[in-house]
């Protein structure tokens, strides 16, 4: 790989993706607060480096599965912003025609096989997708995102064993933000943690500072190459911090304010910015990237707000082919 020469370009690409994720979610938060977005909204503010670092190393025909906190994953994988924002708003032009909302965003056209409202729900799907790809002779791979809360659910064990057994092309990504909903994960997780569990299931594991975008990128590049080479699954354990609450309406008041302050200072976009500045990138360049991202998302918000609602008749569609029921009030 000719990484050295274009390192700055890679970092700038990461920075752009991360700014776009942040801008998307802050815009969504504001829209939710303003009553424009219905239903629950889980944002990943402070965790952007993981999504950006992993997906930046994937091909378009690679697949991902995600969890309830999936905006970043989708955006980084290339999902269209308009379709994402409209989906959050429940509009006709949403990727899921307004049927899914924030917790069920999917964009199959870029290999995003869906967010998931069930913790660990994406793990069995990811290993199956990898098995299908392998069966079809493709060299595409699957990245499977889940949180630290998911490692206490059975499908984690079943899925990792399965992927290792059949040497499937899956990169498991554990976004370890230390909390599951309102509970510190450490307080409900026995043993040495996710890496030991994965290794015990035959899945080689690498740990990384998930708030260091460059480090995630580097680890991901290596792991994606290994997985694509057919050597079986890998797990990347990325430690990070969820700056905001569990849902958009959770003030996370139980958190230690000092810890939150410290986390704000160590958050990945600021860190990457510092790194880029130190590598000689002009601050104004970075400001423009950030500004563009905010503008892009503001525009997406206004468009979504102006976009048409889905026709009620749509409610009856796409249930199934055989035995579909006809629309009647």
């Amino acid at each position: 790989m000719t990484r050295i020469g274009d390192n700055r370009a890679r970092l700038l690409a990461l920075y752009t993706t991360m700014c776009r994720i942040r801008a998307f979610e802050e815009t969504a938060l504001a829209a939710h607060k303003a009553g424009e977005i219905p239903g629950p909204l889980h944002v990943s503010i402070g965790q952007e480096a993981v999504a950006a670092g992993i997906c930046g190393n994937l091909r378009r025909d690679d697949r991902i599965t995600s969890n309830h906190r999936g905006h970043g994953h989708a955006l980084a994988k290339g999902a269209g912003v308009a379709g994402m924002m409209e989906e959050l708003f429940g509009r006709a032009g949403g990727h899921c025609r307004g049927k899914g909302g924030s917790m069920h965003i999917a964009d199959f056209s870029v290999g995003m096989l869906g967010a998931n409202g069930v913790v660990a729900g994406g793990i069995p799907i990811a290993v199956g997708a990898a098995q299908g790809l392998k069966l079809m002779g493709s060299d595409a791979i699957v990245a499977c995102f889940f949180g630290d809360g998911a490692i206490n659910r059975g499908p984690f064990l079943e899925g990792l064993n399965w992927a290792a057994l059949y040497r499937l092309p899956v990169l498991f990504v554990c976004e370890d933000n230390g909390v599951a909903a309102f509970t510190a994960t450490a307080s409900v997780t026995a043993g040495p943690g996710v890496a030991a569990r994965a290794e015990a299931l035959g899945v080689p594991t690498v740990s990384v500072d998930g708030n260091d975008a460059a480090a995630v990128d580097e680890a991901a590049a290596r792991l994606v190459a290994e997985v694509r080479a057919g050597t079986g699954p890998r797990l990347l354990h990325a430690t990070t911090y969820r700056i905001t609450g569990h849902t958009s309406t959770d003030p996370a008041a139980w958190r230690d304010p000092a810890a939150v302050e410290a986390a704000r200072a160590a958050e990945p976009i600021l860190r990457l910015r510092a790194r880029l500045l130190s590598e000689g990138v002009a601050g104004s360049t970075l400001d423009i990237i950030q500004g563009d991202a905010l503008a892009e998302m503001a525009a997406a918000r206004s468009s979504a707000l102006a976009a048409p609602w889905p026709d009620p008749a749509v409610a009856w569609e796409d249930v199934q082919d055989i035995g579909a029921v006809a629309g009647e009030a």
Partner: protein, 324 residues
């Protein structure tokens, strides 16, 4: 009597029973922090972390551990957070909890309450809005409670906690903010007794759980149009108050079952079938069911609205039934 919210009524019922019986305890995600909806606020402080156990996200074991703990004589309240996640614990519920007493010839006493806030929940989409209460009426060994008011929630929860049977307790999550009077000392409400919400001789409306307030509203609108509905809230689906429904039907001859769940395979089918069996087709003039069409719950408000049961649809269905 004080007027309190439904979720507060549920909280007080559990609180009262945990004070009364030291073998009662609660386990589930975030319960030590008061639970997702505040149903257990203050419990940790009062009862400590041995009786208020915040668990990992491990639904299989949340359910199965509840059973195991019952088999040695404790009385767990198993909190499932939201109904939909019980899908992660179905073996423990259906193959184990429901069957141990029978399979072991009466040796096992699975005295657990399984709390599952259910129902359509303000644009939460397909994985957070299910209503599958009818499933569990089909499973021998289980008791099914589906309250709709603060007082019923409190009284039925007390009964559930004191019962030696496994009780599936469907908290109507969309009604948690609903207020109503609840007594200081919460008395148990016997299972299998419907509550009459309105008396009338023209048609019988049978309903339960989160849709009840809209059925009441519809009944008021119907009354204004000269149709007197006899409205029964079943409150529990197993056992259920066949006698009350049959008695009402003997007067009205017309039956409309209204539930939030999908119509096909919903408990409305059982109510209709049983009544036709009991009273004979000749004993009835018209029957109908109103529920969600056989479509998952969508996210967008106009789509959700298009499918879900509401007051207008109830009125329309009742009027159509009167014309038959």
């Amino acid at each position: 009597m004080q007027s309190i919210t439904l979720v507060e009524a549920a909280r007080r019922a559990a609180l009262q029973e945990m004070r009364r019986d030291p073998s009662v305890w609660v386990l589930g995600e975030d319960v030590a922090r008061g639970g997702l909806f505040g149903q257990y606020r203050g419990f940790l402080e009062e009862f400590g972390d041995q009786r208020v156990v915040s668990t990992p996200i491990s639904e299989s074991v949340i359910m199965g551990a509840g059973l195991g703990a019952a088999l040695v004589g404790t009385r767990p309240i198993i909190e499932m957070r939201i109904f939909d996640f019980v899908m992660c614990a179905m073996d423990e519920l259906v193959n184990q909890i429901a069957k141990v007493r029978y399979m072991f010839g009466g040796q096992a006493k699975p005295a657990v309450v399984i709390r599952m806030p259910h129902g359509i929940w303000r644009n939460s989409a397909a994985q957070h809005s299910q209503m599958l209460e009818s499933w569990f009426t089909h499973i021998p060994g289980l008791v099914v409670a589906v309250p709709s008011s603060p007082a019923d929630t409190a009284g039925l929860l007390v009964t559930a906690i004191r019962s030696d049977d496994p009780v599936l307790f469907f908290d109507p999550k969309n009604l948690f903010p609903l207020t109503g009077p609840v007594a200081e000392v919460i008395e148990p409400i016997p299972f299998g007794q419907a509550r009459r919400l309105r008396e009338g001789g023209d048609l019988t409306l049978v309903t339960w759980s989160a849709i009840v307030p809209q059925v009441e509203e519809a009944a008021a609108l119907l009354a204004a149009r000269g149709i007197a509905a006899d409205v029964l809230d079943l409150r529990t689906l197993w056992p259920w108050d066949e006698a009350a429904v049959a008695a009402s039907l003997r007067r009205t001859g017309r039956l409309l079952v209204v539930h939030e769940a999908v119509t096909t395979g919903g408990f409305g089918a059982e109510v209709v079938a049983r009544m036709v069996e009991l009273l004979g087709p000749g004993g009835l003039k018209a029957v109908g069911r109103l529920g969600q069409p056989r479509v998952p719950v969508p996210f967008a408000p106009p789509l959700e609205d298009a499918l879900k049961v509401d007051t207008a649809k109830i009125v329309a269905a009742a009027e159509a039934l009167m014309r038959r």
